[in-house]
């Protein structure tokens, strides 16, 4: 257990050795900050122009999903690809650690960075939820926000584990990032491209089932927690973690 903690600690601090971490956080906060400002305006706008749910505008925006598309591959690309190209994977794999401990530690470190990135957005919540300091209550139903954060947490886990799996397959960080980007795009593209389709058709149903931005637009931001989506995110995440362990293990056999 303590060995795992040591590894998590090293992987987490490794993010801050490179400028990517700072750039990612800066871009992410700039985009969400801008969307937050817009949301405040919209929530207070009179008449039919406004929005009714606090997080609705943020998770519906194309800019948000573009950022969300690029950030996980940037966070995961180095996890294994860097170790392979520099040869340090050999040091790691000859240490007395099991393969799953390595994969688990790297995932936890990467996820911790993802959470860290989201932490400052909690500052927006008192404003978005119309927090009453006198009565300690929200002026707006907080559970729509809770559902959105739950969705983001699981969707993040899915994209990060996907990226980590790709990183364990290749030697070059750039290739890892691009392939992960492409695979993530499959889950996001329909949210950006917004095809005109018959919403009752089978094709749309399938598209809706895998398109993460649509889940947020229709369900999470409205406070609807649909188990189908939770299961999709967590099963893809677990599958990718499992495949990463296998991919690492298969290195030994080659």
């Amino acid at each position: 257990m303590r060995a795992t903690l040591s590894l998590i600690h090293r992987e987490f601090s490794a993010y801050f050795f490179s400028p990517i971490a700072y750039v990612v956080i800066a871009v992410f906060l700039a985009v969400t900050g801008y969307l937050f400002a817009l949301s405040v305006l919209q929530l207070t706008a009179p008449g039919p122009k406004g929005i009714s749910y606090p997080m609705q505008l943020i998770v519906n925006d194309v800019a948000f999903w573009l950022v969300f598309l690029f950030i996980p591959p940037l966070l995961t690309m180095r996890l294994f690809a860097e170790e392979r190209s520099s040869g340090t994977l050999e040091m790691l794999m000859t240490a007395p650690l099991r393969d799953w401990q390595i994969v688990f530690s790297k995932f936890v470190a990467c996820y911790a960075f993802f959470v860290l990135m989201w932490l400052p957005t909690l500052l927006y919540l008192p404003v978005l939820l119309d927090w009453q300091w006198g009565t300690w209550r929200c002026g707006i139903d907080p559970w729509t926000v809770g559902a959105t954060y739950l969705g983001l947490a699981l969707a993040g886990a899915m994209f990060l584990s996907l990226g980590m799996f790709v990183s364990s397959l290749v030697k070059s960080q750039i290739v890892a990032a691009l392939v992960a980007l492409f695979l993530s795009l499959l889950f996001i593209v329909a949210g950006i491209w917004r095809p005109e389709m018959d919403a009752s058709g089978t094709a749309y149903q399938v598209l809706f089932y895998v398109t993460v931005p649509l889940h947020f637009e229709r369900n999470f931001s409205h406070g609807v927690v649909d188990t189908r989506q939770l299961i999709l995110y967590s099963s893809v995440a677990f599958l990718c973690l499992f495949l990463t362990i296998r991919s690492l293990e298969s290195r030994r056999w080659r």
Binding site: R2, A3, L5, S6, L7, H9, R10, A14, F17, S18, S86, G87, T88, E90, M91, L92, M93, T94, A95, P96, L97, R98, R252, W253, R254
Partner: protein
């Protein structure tokens, strides 16, 4: 301590290691010698648990490297060939991290880190970034890492590659010292290395197979089995007369500048020299020099590795 039997490793169709068997008893320093690409690193990687063998078995301290991989890895300190390290970490940070994943914590961890820093002469650079260290220092960081958990077995892949002569000497001395407490398997492709490192035994590996093994003295003896006497004479000599030398098994002559060189093989070289001198005096040959030629370990090495490629 290390027991390897019939180990084979294929990379695709290419056999990197074939049918390699050897034993390293506890407390010995064993040198693993062979040209580049002979399969030294592959064998060591299998022992360290980085690769799995295609067939065959290897055990360390009685534990199978495949089935008890993690337990085996706890018992060995492995230093890979090019000694890859995290460039962006400081030396003491790196050692703290490595000690952590090897299961050392608290006071024990501090104590071991201080110990290996001292042991590998790294105290001056403990706060330096690994990326800024010279090759020699990096090698020492790798060695320090291998020593951290004070494992009974050390597997060092080319510990002196890329070092300058002074560093090589220092590393050799360190290995000699470590040999008192650890069982060491070290590899090198430089022969003089093995002759100077205090190896108890040498295993010469070539094209994935064990070509020769034994103590240095054994191998030296084996090499000198075809020692001969070289005698140079001025002018020409009557080779027929050599037939009169008792014990002579083989003679070959070659022309050299203004004279003749004889290459004489005999069961007893020691007594051949005075007899040859006597013969030369009787025949009136002008001796330039007579000297014994004993093939060195290097000749044996070339002979072994050259023969099979031919």
């Amino acid at each position: 301590m290390i027991h390897v039997s019939r180990l084979t490793k294929f990379y695709g169709d290419y056999p990197a290691v074939q049918d390699v068997s050897f034993d390293v008893p506890a407390g010995q320093i064993v040198g693993f010698l062979g040209p580049n690409g002979a399969g030294k690193s592959t064998t060591m990687r299998i022992l360290a648990g980085y690769l799995t063998a295609t067939s065959g078995q290897a055990t360390i301290d009685g534990l199978d490297v495949l089935w008890d991989s993690v337990e085996v890895r706890r018992r060995i300190g492995y230093m890979p060939e090019s000694c890859p390290l995290y460039q962006e970490m400081r030396v003491h940070e790196y050692l703290r991290f490595r000690a952590g994943i090897k299961g050392l914590h608290g006071g024990k961890r501090r104590q071991r880190i201080d110990f290996v820093l001292k042991r590998c002469w790294l105290e001056d650079v403990r706060r330096q970034l690994i990326g800024t260290l010279s090759k020699g220092y990096r090698q020492r960081v790798g060695l320090a890492d291998a020593l951290l958990a004070s494992p009974p077995v050390l597997i060092l892949d080319e510990p002196t590659a890329g070092l300058d002569p002074a560093q090589i000497r220092a590393t050799r001395a360190l290995i000699h010292e470590l040999g008192r407490e650890h069982t060491i398997l070290l590899s090198t492709h430089i022969l003089s290395e093995v002759e100077k490192t205090p190896c108890d035994r040498v295993i010469i590996i070539h094209e994935g197979r064990v070509a020769a093994s034994g103590t240095l003295a054994d191998l030296q003896e084996k090499a000198s089995a075809n020692a001969c006497l070289i005698a140079d004479f001025d002018g020409s000599i009557d080779e027929e007369a050599l037939g009169g030398l008792p014990g002579l098994t083989d003679a070959a002559s070659a022309k050299i500048d203004g004279g003749v060189r004889l290459r004489l093989h005999a069961g007893d070289l020691g007594s051949l020299t005075p007899r040859l001198c006597g013969l030369a005096a009787a025949q009136g040959w002008k001796i330039r020099q007579i000297r014994p030629e004993r093939p060195t370990l290097e000749d044996l090495f070339v002979q072994i590795t050259g023969r099979e490629t031919a």
